[in-house]
């Protein structure tokens, strides 16, 4: 997918806030229905006349109610038409297709056409800048465009602008991308410019996090452990003005930490609306989110109350390395239960999967037909984080083992 590729883009944003469109189109985090979509007002970086927007999406996506002055969302599925942008100024653009998180990053183009059926196309006057096309039907498109002061804006200005861009829009895109199909966990690198690297991090059920090296230290937060993307990057949630400073680490491409998950999301994988609500809730209850500019103050309390309503027996624990509150539970799994397959199929660390016991092996060795049970016993333990299976361990007792005072653990 195109989103997997690295792009380089110089980003520049306008700092002006833009009013929301009609109130009935507004999505208020944790309050509104998932079919509602916030559509932002016009951006000076985008043409005033020739772009379309719509509130009713067939595949809804969410734009959190934050100040995102330069974000314009489109829903091309609503009318089946192309959207045209005529940009008045050199503009940095990123285009995300929320359903499968394809994204186009573009530097300094002055016009392009967005065709829902196949791809994003740039008009010939793009000066040969790099871009990617999305070679599939686009269900919805989000355009983040921003106006540079002039075409000769210096690199530091671009970086500063990018900083602002992500401060504001990263969170929103995070939620938008969360509406993808959870059954296909993929990672994407959105792009990078010369000095600002920004990555898209698959947070599994939570969605994506946008970050840049420069702004990480100031604003962008993340909750939970991350599923790491296809490039090396620095984990977010590190900075002098963030609550947590524990989570800074470099991760190599392909490595995977525990996927972040929300309660019931595993069972509801195919239920996007429910998931979106969950993702939205996660966004709201992340304490670091509230530090983002424009985040509604009252949402945190409300969302927290809702989270307790959703979880009748909450036992929050602090996730190691972050200040996010997550719930871990350990449960015993019966080898004859339906959950056993998921237990056996729990992935190993990505880069080591080829060496890990296969699902079939685990099922054979631990399943009810295992010959080990003729002379041994096991107890299978599964660890859930907010309802999502994230770990396992097996305790075993072998009655033939020479030292009968010793029991074993395995498949940790």
């Amino acid at each position: 997918m195109s989103g997997r590729n690295n792009n380089r883009a110089q980003l520049a944003v306008s700092n002006q806030p833009y009013p929301c469109a009609d109130l009935d189109q507004r999505f208020q985090p944790s309050l509104c229905g998932v079919q509602q979509v916030l559509v932002r007002g016009d951006s000076p970086g985008l043409g005033q006349e020739d772009y379309r927007r719509s509130a009713e999406t067939k595949v809804p996506f969410l734009l959190a109610s934050l100040h995102r002055p330069t974000l314009v969302s489109l829903d091309n599925t609503a009318d089946g038409q192309c959207a045209y942008f005529n940009l008045q100024h050199a503009t940095a653009i990123c285009v995300g297709e929320h359903a499968d998180h394809a994204l186009v990053a573009k530097s300094r183009c002055t016009g392009f056409q967005c065709d829902r059926m196949h791809r994003v196309q740039y008009t010939p006057d793009t000066n040969g800048s790099r871009y990617l096309t999305i070679d599939r039907e686009m269900k919805a498109v989000i355009i983040a465009g921003c106006q540079a002061d002039d075409e000769t804006s210096t690199q530091p200005e671009s970086i500063q602008a990018a900083d602002k861009f992500f401060n504001i829009d990263g969170t929103a895109l995070d939620v938008e991308f969360a509406s993808r199909d959870l059954g296909e966990c993929q990672h994407s690198t959105l792009g990078r410019c010369d000095q600002v690297e920004w990555v898209c991090i698959d947070r599994s059920c939570l969605g994506f996090e946008l970050a840049c090296e420069k702004c990480i230290k100031r604003t962008v937060s993340s909750s939970g452990k991350l599923r790491f993307g296809v490039v090396d990057f620095e984990v977010l949630n590190e900075g002098r003005d963030l609550a947590s400073a524990k989570c800074r680490s470099m991760q190599k491409a392909g490595e995977m930490a525990e996927p972040f998950s929300l309660d019931e999301s595993v069972q509801k994988r195919r239920s996007q609306p429910r998931f979106i609500k969950k993702a939205e809730l996660a966004l709201a209850i992340d304490p670091l989110r509230s530090q983002l500019p424009g985040f509604p103050v009252d949402v945190v309390d409300l969302a927290t109350r809702r989270s307790h309503m959703l979880s009748p027996h909450p036992s929050p624990q602090h996730d190691l390395g972050t200040d996010s509150i997550v719930e871990y539970t350990v449960a015993s799994i019966d080898p004859s239960s339906p959950e056993f397959f998921e237990f056996a199929a729990l992935p190993h660390v990505c880069s080591l999967n080829s060496l890990a016991p296969s699902t079939a092996d685990v099922m054979q060795q631990l399943g009810v037909d295992s010959l080990f049970y003729r002379h041994g016993e096991t107890r299978l333990f599964a660890c859930y984080r907010n309802g999502h299976l994230v770990g396992r361990a097996v305790a075993s007792v072998d009655h033939h083992f020479p030292d009968q005072y010793v029991g074993h653990f395995v498949y940790f």
Binding site: S332, A393, A395, V397, D398, H408
Partner: protein, 243 residues
């Protein structure tokens, strides 16, 4: 939390110690890696995230047993061959005593497993974590190796003068790298030159395949043939804790 759950259950079962990881039986896999994470993994190597050692250490687990692997460079491999050449007189003595080597058919692993099943019990009886199992369970434990997904190569059987198998060895190939995986001679025949003979066969095997690099894999900490070529690059451990 997972380990606490395991420990609690084992306590209920009357156990005084917890050790692992052992995939129910050492024949199905055991140990985890404690060093050499920057090296390329080889088939049959226990691999895990590099934070495992510290994690288990923080949980109170201590090393119970240690194994090591050596990455054998082309130069080191030449050195091993040279040393093997120097051992030719000893090998002659071994073979003149009636010992001989039989090549195992790696394309019929189940059949060959039947041959070495009892041998495994004798060879590994003193090994850490060994627990006797019958042939059927042994075959089930072999798992992936049996389904042909692992390319077992260079498997040899060491016979005594009475034509009974008393040792065996096998390895793998990983691209252009040969993996010396397992050697074993029954207790009664240790010191007969069987290990040298089996190792010689392994060297000949990888030479015939044009392999210039090798890995001396998973040797128990202590005296090893591979010590001649330097220090091990990787180590693996079983850890344990008093309950």
């Amino acid at each position: 939390m997972l380990m606490q759950a395991c420990e609690e259950w084992l306590r209920e079962k009357g156990k005084k110690r917890i050790e692992g990881p052992i995939n129910l039986n050492m024949l199905a896999g055991y140990r985890f890696q404690v060093s050499g994470f920057d090296t390329q993994a080889f088939p049959g190597e226990p691999r895990n995230p590099d934070y495992y050692p510290d994690l288990f250490s923080s949980l109170g687990y201590r090393e119970v047993a240690l194994w090591q692997s050596w990455d054998i460079s082309p130069l080191a491999l030449l050195g091993l061959r040279a040393f093997d050449w120097l051992q030719r007189a000893r090998r002659r003595a071994t073979t003149s005593s009636g010992y001989r080597i039989e090549v195992l058919r790696t394309d019929h692993l189940e059949e060959e497993t039947r041959k070495i099943h009892y041998l495994v019990h004798e060879v590994f009886a003193d090994n850490y974590g060994f627990s006797p199992i019958d042939l059927v369970e042994h075959i089930q434990m072999q798992g992936a190796a049996m389904d042909g997904s692992a390319r077992v190569a260079g498997a040899f059987l060491y016979h005594s003068a009475q034509r009974e198998p008393v040792g065996f060895s096998y390895g793998f190939y990983m691209g252009r790298t040969g993996i010396f995986h397992t050697f074993g001679v029954t207790k009664a025949h240790r010191g007969s030159g069987g290990a040298d003979l089996l190792f010689h066969q392994g060297l000949q095997e990888i030479r015939s395949q044009g392999v210039s690099r090798a890995i001396g894999a998973l040797a128990k900490a202590g005296k090893s043939k591979y010590e001649r070529i330097g220090r091990p690059r990787r180590a693996y451990a079983i850890v344990g804790k008093i309950l």
